[in-house]
Symmetry: C2
């Protein structure tokens, strides 16, 4: 690996001059700068990020804290879209992206320690497990932070507008004539709480009273649980005419159960999902669902984070609400 010293030798200047020239410091004259840059390129120089980071305390690296209960990881379409657009935005602003792990070599450590150890300039938490001790440790640390779909007090966040989305969904289902609407909700997170509250509100706004047995605890991204909840709902003496699922993927479990019982969607029972992932729109019939704007969420998260990192004076804490969109699909029958 060629260093600035070797370039300095080659150019007949001091290595300080090289260091400055390579960063376009006004200290160095334009023709010297050019000469230095050219020999640097010729010699195949590339700056040692470790040394630079050690000296400046800046790494131009953003950490991604993302793990999930189910182990789908990056294969989770909603989160992978968020991370992809986060990555693109970070790249365009000159930041790299690494995953926050909990081990270096043989050395085990917490996620927070890892991020500090790597000198991450900032961290995005895209996670469902916000009550996890390790996540909380991160949130209370000194690294600039942005969270997705959860807001820590005094930390920036980007939230899908779940309240509005749920309201849109209930409104749509109600407008199609449904009065017996059931809701299988996901893991008990802030997202779920928001959706639940919004669900009750929207129903109340239409004068619907929701029987308690219509509201069932499920899990996100879990077909097994939603299949079971569906079974439970269909066994009721007065079953719902429409079932709302925690997300599009979970709905697949419900779909299987409904078909196993010889029922058909939406003829015998109407359904709706949440997320608007690709498969929901290529299955037959096309799923009625809410499309969350994952790309916008990821991009916004990167912008907020970098803004905070680069600000000389800390900006006010921001919590950005990103609207979603109803995809009508074909799974809510007009009755």
């Amino acid at each position: 690996m060629v260093t600035i010293k070797e370039i300095a030798l080659e150019c007949g200047v001091s290595f300080a001059a090289v260091s400055k020239a390579l960063r376009d410091s006004p200290d160095i004259g334009p023709e010297t700068t050019l000469r230095i840059k050219e020999t640097a390129k010729k010699m195949g120089y590339s700056r040692n990020a470790a040394a630079s980071s050690l000296k400046t305390g800046r790494s131009h690296m953003l950490g991604v804290l993302y793990y999930d209960r189910t182990g789908v990881g990056l294969a989770h379409e909603y989160f992978s879209l968020i991370l992809e657009s986060f990555k693109v935005q970070a790249a365009s602003q000159g930041y790299g992206m690494l995953f926050v792990m909990n081990k270096v070599g043989q050395q085990q450590m917490t996620y927070y320690d890892y991020a500090r150890s790597q000198g991450c300039d900032g961290v995005i938490i895209a996670n469902l497990e916000y009550r996890d001790a390790e996540v909380i440790e991160m949130a209370q640390g000194v690294i600039p932070l942005v969270t997705v779909d959860y807001a820590f007090p005094n930390q920036d966040s980007v939230l899908s507008d779940n309240a509005d989305c749920m309201e849109k969904l209930v409104d749509y289902v109600y407008a199609r004539g449904h009065r017996r609407i059931a809701f299988i909700y996901g893991d008990l997170s802030d997202v779920t709480k928001t959706r639940l509250a919004s669900f009750y509100n929207a129903c109340a706004a239409h004068g619907l009273s929701v029987p308690p047995e219509y509201v069932i605890k499920g899990l996100f991204h879990d077909t097994e649980t939603s299949a079971q909840a569906t079974r439970q709902l269909l066994a009721l003496s007065e079953p719902p005419t429409c079932i709302l699922y925690p997300d599009d993927f979970s709905f697949i479990g419900g779909k299987n159960e409904i078909e196993r019982q010889g029922l058909s969607i939406p003829k015998d029972v109407s359904v709706a999902g949440f997320d608007g992932i690709l498969l929901s729109q290529v299955m037959t019939p096309r799923l009625t669902t809410i499309q969350q704007d994952a790309r916008s969420i990821g991009k916004t998260a990167a912008e907020l984070l970098i803004q905070r990192i680069e600000a000389k004076t800390p900006p006010a804490v921001q919590s950005v609400l990103v609207p979603g969109q109803l995809l009508p699909g074909e799974t809510v029958k007009k009755i």
Copy 2:
């Protein structure tokens, strides 16, 4: 940030002793080591990776070179599965994972320079664009490498066994009675070449001669192109009875076109995909396809790469072939 010096001060030992103790050097006595480790933990120490990496030349970081023509990025299910299992395996062996970018701050650079600059111990290339100058630069560099679905001479690689997969697929379609089989192939890569050769071979093995108009150039992960190719095939005076698509996602374009023409799958025309992504198995009818073992590919790639990184003497170049599996589905009619 607390450093080893502060710990040394606190413990009344030299900072060299601390450095050694924290890495379990036999130099330091067991009870001193214990005492040092405890105060380190108490003081919230975390090792500065930049300093460590600067000194040792090892970063415990693997770079991921992954970009695509279409811009789906991480949302590409096949690749995201590969990267996820790569990440899990890397983590378990004490390695981190960062994306190889081409910019740090304002400074533009090549992917190779970036990876060198960050001191990546190794790089995985999961990419379709193997003829790209930047990818080639990386392949010719000094960083340990593993490629996915492409083999550079003298570099480790993990390949989905496309030849075998394609043969299985053609065999299946043939066994269902089809004699007029068309193939829309993807971007002209090694993967495609392998599949094409295997397609012709398998057809020949069954005594089928393939009319040239049955073999059409398409693109990976592109619905538009496959829709057009489908249109072309269906317009033939003697259209195929079965169409093979470059991948499951591309098939959606074909599906749309087939349905637009008022035809039904598999009644009027049979189809098969490639990849075995989730949506292929939840759509109706379930797509006949080949499931590539993405998780195994990612895991193997990490193992190969780390093995090469950690070997004192460079091991022989390896190219691992990962078998796939036929998912029969319901889109190839028995005729």
